[in-house]
Amino acid sequence: MADFLQTLMTALAIGSLYALIALGYTMVYGVLKFINFAHSDIVVLGAWLSYSFAIRALPLVGLDAHNPTTPPPIWMTAGIFVAVLALCSLAGFLIERLAYRPLRRAPRLNVLITAIGVSLLLQNVGQLDFVFGASPQKMPALLPNWELLRIPFGQGESIRYVVLPLIDCIIFAVSGLLMLALELLIFRTKFGTALRAVSFNTDFAALMGIPVDRAISLTFMLGSALAGAAGFLYVLKFPSMNQPAHSVWVLLGLKAFVAAVVGGIGNVRGAVLGGFIIAFVEQFGAYYISSNYRDVYVFSLLILILLIKPTGLLGSPVREKV
């Protein structure tokens, strides 16, 4: 029972992160019909920017940059968060403007290959010494190390605790808020209507007077901001950070991509659902079956979904345009 609850809580926190990243994949696919492979590198950018900001901001309030004894004031943490979001959406805007927009009318394969190129470029630029460097770093703690819950199960020697750290709650709450905001933005605002129109049919949307390029830019900025948020929350939960080109980051992006496909790529609610499903399959599979195959469960699920319902759980069948 204790282990079940613990696994459940971890799955919820990690599922929120997958969902945040999956949203970026799914939004870009919804509008441009291509997979933005550079998206996982925006997560890395968010993570490493959080680190760079943190080690520069902490000395300002008289704390040690790498091992602060107490967490910084909450406005500083929030400030770093906002700055990371802003810079990540700027990066998303620039990538779209410089790499993808010139290929707007090119065959889709060209854009796809460009996306892989952009991803490799970002990974390797990130490893340069004057950018982030190629060594792992430890993220200083920006939040108090509280445990909101510590429930004992069993007695004596075999006593086990279910621990709910503050950071897990914050991940869950912040990503929930961001997803809610996105949902409102897409379904309740004029901009959202424009976005859906572009996604439905780009040419007709343009004929209706919708500024297509601006809508696409905004899609990239929104998706990248969510990815930046995921990067920030990820390093707060797992403070020992791998170097920017480490395969773990690629795998993180890949799993979020699987989440988007499982939920139905192009569907915003599907991405959130997919994120949680992937995290549950991964965590419970690792606990109850074997941790040797934790990635196997995720990708087997992908194959299964593609066989049974190729459009994903919430995706609607799309007729191939002629």
Binding site: A134, S291, N292
Partner: protein, 419 residues
């Protein structure tokens, strides 16, 4: 698509689409643009070729009065201290031999390439050392997976390679050009199993294993430990795996917690081990952990702090060893780098000195002659013990067990082969 695009090729179509007002281009401007683009490409190509050849020429000029040896190691990445320590050990040995007049009157020069702890980078670094820099011998790597990536390249090109600290048996099985100066995992695994079974503080009969399934070192050591532990009368109650660089170990650790082991064997590298220890502490897991020489880094204590108190690992040497050859080395190393050498620095030093020893007696500096001399090494007094190569090019040496106390490793015991 407007008809005016129909005559031009697909490339100019893109450039037209980029200009928002689609106007018809006459053929002549199109070809002019193509010509300009072509000349740009040719220019870049020529520039690249000239710079490459000039680089190549520079490095190929090897003067006859020096010996160039290569080192590939993880100077950056998750195992950065492995490469840095090894490189420092090698540099120290080179400084020493050059101060004493070099090898047979020739000065030794070292070329070091960073492989970032990535097998692909290791392969290209060694290819570069062997083919472009044409080194006489190669030293490296620490991680067995990276040595395995590089060894076939050295073997094919007939360049002797000495791995200072790759313990997986497969490394030297690649061929007769590949040597090492450390013990191998069948021995290390049995040392760990014996210690877990017999140490007063552990006396374990039930062990759990958490292994890095992406590292040949970790998988190999895990198998050897399992074999030896079961042969000694123990049982393995849980076998879990992670991948190098993983951040979340909660599923594995909760699973291990449920199986109630008396010791957890973690044959991983220090960065991951540090993270595992921190998360195990958060989960309230108080079982002692045990590992191999992959733990050997000052960073381990910095990452894990007191989360590893009461945990043990096997290693090649202890800086607390009072014997004069160890203490002299430590004094030399501290004089140059202002830090206490870890086992990898000591092995790097030994690897370089064994190489110079073989070069001194070899009839020529060809790969074959050096390798033949290396195979004859017997009773070489190294910092990490007396080194004699066996028929499989592996030395037979004792191991030490260290205990983590508030972030620093302290000497506990020495276990010799055959004990």
């Amino acid at each position: 698509m407007p008809t005016c695009f129909a005559t031009s090729d697909s490339e100019s179509c893109i450039s037209l689409a980029r200009d928002k007002a689609p106007t018809c281009l006459t053929k002549s401007t199109t070809s002019l643009r193509q010509f300009l683009r072509l000349s740009k490409v040719v220019g870049i190509f020529l520039l690249a070729v000239t710079s490459l050849t000039s680089l190549g020429c520079q490095s190929r000029v090897a003067s006859t009065d020096e010996i160039v040896i290569g080192h590939f190691g993880s100077i950056t990445g998750s195992e950065a201290t492995f490469g840095i320590s090894t490189d420092r050990g090698i540099q120290l040995a080179i400084e020493e031999v050059n101060a004493a007049g070099g090898v047979n009157g020739k000065k030794v020069r070292l070329i070091t390439y960073d492989d970032k702890g990535d097998p692909r980078e290791a392969g290209s670094a060694v290819t570069r050392l062997v083919t472009r820099d044409q080194v006489t011998a190669v030293l490296g790597e620490v991680a067995s997976g990276l040595s395995l990536a590089a060894a076939p390249i050295c073997q094919e090109n007939g360049v002797p390679m000495i791995s200072p600290s790759s313990t997986n048996p497969k490394v030297t099985q690649v061929g007769d050009m590949i040597y090492r100066v450390c013990f191998i995992d069948p021995f290390q695994g049995s040392v760990c199993a014996k210690f877990a079974r017999e140490n007063e503080k552990i006396k374990a009969t039930k062990a759990a294993i958490l292994c890095d399934q992406t590292a040949p070192y970790s998988v190999g050591l895990q198998e050897e430990f399992e074999k030896a532990f079961i042969a000694g009368g123990g049982t393995i109650v849980s076998k879990q795996a992670y991948q190098a660089g993983d951040q979340d170990f909660s599923a594995q650790l909760t699973s291990i917690r449920a199986s109630e082991p008396e010791v957890i064997f973690i044959p991983g590298y220090y960065t991951d081990v540090g993270n595992i220890a921190l998360q195990a502490k958060k989960l309230g897991l108080k079982v002692p952990m045990l590992g191999g020489d992959g733990w050997d880094s000052a960073k381990l204590g910095q990452i894990a702090g007191d989360a590893l108190n009461g945990c043990y690992y096997s290693n090649h040497y202890s800086h607390e060893d009072p014997s004069p050859r160890v203490q002299n080395f430590i004094k030399l190393y501290q004089g140059k780098y202002q830090e206490t050498p870890d086992g990898l620095a000591a092995l790097g030093y030994d690897a370089a000195r064994i190489l110079f020893n073989a070069m001194k007696t070899a009839p020529s500096l060809s790969g074959k002659d050096i390798a033949a001399e290396l195979a004859k090494t017997t009773g070489f007094e190294g910092v990490t013990g007396v080194i004699s190569m066996d028929a499989n090019r592996n030395p037979v040496k004792p191991a030490v067990i260290l205990e983590m106390k508030d972030g620093t490793p302290r000497y506990v015991a020495t276990i010799a082969p055959g004990e």
